[in-house]
Symmetry: C2
Subunit: 316 residues, 2 copies
């Protein structure tokens, strides 16, 4: 008994629930439409019912040792979801407490990017590492920092916001959703790459396949680069150089063994990785040059969030 | 018995040795001229003899539980001094091992800035804090980062080189001793402030008291600001704004309770602190604004390095 954990990946639109063992095998999984639940109580009720169903062939909820959840703005210290703008419930929500109360099973939450780092350390590319940084390059840029084998949560539980370090201090730098300007995620993310593309296409007359595309995505920019498009290559060069320079700063901070890149943008492969590594090594102190691994996540995109939440649960 | 530790602050020119108890009282101290010793063996021999003398009134070396040393490029993992350019011995030196062997007392070393952070946590402004960053603003800019009550050493023992994060990405940014350009310490340090002063004085015709001074120091810039000199004020504004912006990035990384400033440059007081705090809060994510303390070290400059090395020894 108690040989599984329940893992919840709570997203703004959809939630994924998984039943996971100590080795990271996902025995069963279900989806839940987050957006359908107007209140957190009805959501947790639906989560409970799904979990009963999900665990039924595996000994029921009695076989579940703990529940881990990766949620936007989830604070591991308080167990609260703190004013997540992309969830249907905007107020401060004692999520871990509500779940633990409904299930009568201990529950821990953290934000998505920290969960990803935990999953990477337990089951992915960072297995055996005690010091690494995971950057989640999706719509935005999230980060989970591991030092001495522990995720860094900081004084208030909110550490690891590397998407909002300054990548451009100019007063006319790109505006970020956070209200600041020049944040790293306005350049290095799926949306950042599209902004870079639009800037270059608008400011120059360079011929490009990208000019024919209506709703440009970062995948289009990858695809164009693969077809030899010079503007697309320039966009990846610009993105990678900036990312490499900022990773060099992160290395100066915590001297990790590796930086693990995760998320949709990593599909760009060498177009992103090569300029990132080159720029990283150029900007590192000599003591670190060619010593810091830059690697892509070892987890399948669809499983990573579940496995991260599971790793968190196994820490309880 | 064993109620003291020996603390060594090994500097390029001078070394300070102190006999310190658990509460951070310095019972006895001596100086040693580092530069006089051509080999590390003769240096350690002199350190030993000084220590015998120093401890004599306090029960001799038998009363010493451990030895801690803050040394340039000291690596806590290996116990080695790794190619410190400002020491008479340039090769890689197994310093902790040599000392422990000569004294038959356990010895740990770390770099000066990490020792300063340890001292601050044990005996200074960071007492009771588990998450803070100490920036040593002297000739250069050193840093000691504390997360979960532990100094961050990283994968290789070399973490915490915040003096070498990028403060200016321009290709013509200031050249740093490390070989890179635009490093934070080329702007925010005693030498950085003088470089800023010279730049402003050369590039403009603004009247300033500083124009009459031959060998400008950061103290002169402080003194001129106190006398109402507009150029001097501009220099501090420039320095503080840059420092505040970079501290905001550091907060995004580890979300500390406080940032403690230490070293000669902090004598500039409000001229440095006010623009630093203003810029910090402007550049922080809203979740952290006005929540991060910026404070000056609680340790006397002359004692800090000794107390830091003592704190390290008490960890053995």
């Amino acid at each position: 008994m108690s040989s599984y954990v329940l893992a919840l990946d709570l997203g703004g639109t959809n939630s994924e629930i998984g039943l996971v063992d100590r080795q990271g095998h996902i025995f069963n999984r279900m989806s839940l439409s987050t957006a359908d639940y107007r209140t957190v109580d009805t959501y947790i009720d639906a989560f409970y019912k799904s979990a009963v169903h999900l665990t039924e062939p595996y000994g029921g909820l009695r076989s579940v040792k703990a529940i881990g959840a990766g949620v936007p703005n989830g604070n591991i210290y308080t167990g609260n979801i703190e004013h997540a703008m992309n969830l249907p419930w905007h107020e401060q929500i004692p999520f871990a407490e509500l779940v633990a109360g409904r299930f009568q099973i201990p529950c821990k939450i953290t934000n998505d990017a920290n969960a990803a780092a935990l999953g990477e350390m337990e089951f992915g590319a960072a297995r055996g590492m005690k010091n690494f940084i995971e950057l989640t390059l999706g719509t935005g840029l999230g980060s989970g920092i591991v030092i001495n084998g522990q995720v860094v949560y900081g004084h208030d539980g909110l550490a690891g916001e590397l998407g909002h370090v300054c990548a451009n201090a100019a007063s006319n730098a790109r505006r970020c959703n956070c209200g600041k300007r020049g944040c790293l995620e306005t350049y290095v993310s799926a949306t950042g790459v599209v902004r870079t593309a639009k800037e270059i296409l608008t400011k120059t007359n360079k011929p490009s396949l990208l000019r024919t595309i209506d709703h440009l995505t970062s995948y289009d920019v990858y695809s164009a680069a693969e077809q030899g498009d010079e503007v697309a290559k320039e966009i990846w060069l610009y993105t990678g150089r900036l990312l490499g320079r900022k990773i060099a700063d992160f290395v100066s901070f915590s001297s990790p063994e590796a930086v693990v890149l995760f998320g949709g943008l990593t599909n760009a492969g060498k177009w992103l990785l090569e300029p990132t590594e080159e720029s990283l090594n150029k900007n590192l102190l000599p003591i670190w040059r060619r010593k810091i691994k830059v690697t892509v996540s070892g987890l399948d995109g669809a499983d990573a969030a579940i496995l991260g939440a599971a790793a968190l649960a196994w820490q309880i």
